[in-house]
């Protein structure tokens, strides 16, 4: 059963890693997305994450199910609220029988989170506040 969560506090990466360990799996791949300071000359100070929580959880469960149906184990946790530089914003972990499956599934899940899970970042940059997902400078 996949572990899927949206949380307000820090992501406990070590504790999540341990939950992927199982004798039946030979490969564990994890991804941790953290708050980056620089993006093309723009300096970020912190990020606020918000979500359409019910839909986000539904989408994450559906994504996880497609992977767990192959026999892998999935953990996806996204942090919401105010995050500082280097804080972990998202954790995706996949445990599979073989490494190639785990690598591919972990990347697919992360790509899909960035496409279809309704979570938004509001970047507090040194020059202004920017919403993720729009390219203009209105906000």
């Amino acid at each position: 059963m996949a572990i899927i969560d949206l949380i307000q506090g820090p992501i406990n990466v070590e504790a999540l890693n341990k939950q992927l360990v199982d004798p039946k799996y030979g490969g564990i791949v994890t991804f941790v997305g953290t708050v980056r300071q620089w993006t093309d000359g723009i300096q970020t100070e912190s990020i606020n994450y918000t979500a359409y929580e019910e839909m986000a959880l539904k989408q994450m469960h559906e994504l996880a199910q497609t992977v767990e149906d192959t026999g892998s184990r999935v953990i996806m946790v996204h942090r919401l609220g105010h995050l500082e530089l280097t804080d972990a914003a998202v954790y995706v972990g996949v445990a599979s029988e073989h490494r190639s499956t785990a690598f591919g599934q972990c990347q697919m899940l992360m790509d899909q989170i960035k496409y279809k899970v309704p979570i938004w970042k509001e970047e507090i940059d040194t020059d202004k506040v920017r919403w993720g997902g729009i390219q203009d400078d209105k906000h």
Partner: protein, 83 residues
């Protein structure tokens, strides 16, 4: 009249996390609903081109016919930016 949830910058622009728009027809597509939103809230119009529509927490295509007489949860979903 239907209620539509707003998120991220859409909610910020109108300072509301939910709006109500009048829909005259029984069945409409998200395209029509978005047009009604743009008419009622012109400040959102430019942003709606890249916004997806969700019914009962599922993305739907812009040409799907939706019976608005039934009880549904509607939402406008700006491009997501998690991770």
């Amino acid at each position: 009249m239907i209620s539509i949830k707003l998120f991220a910058y859409l909610a910020e622009i109108v300072d509301l996390d939910e709006i109500k728009v009048e829909i005259a027809e029984t069945e409409v597509t998200p395209v029509v609903i978005k047009a009604q939103v743009a008419a009622a809230y012109p400040v959102l119009k430019d942003y709606l081109k890249t916004v997806r529509f969700a019914v009962d927490q599922v993305f739907v295509e812009d040409d799907l016919m939706i019976n608005v007489q039934e009880h549904h949860e509607y939402a406008l979903i700006p491009p997501v930016s998690g991770g």
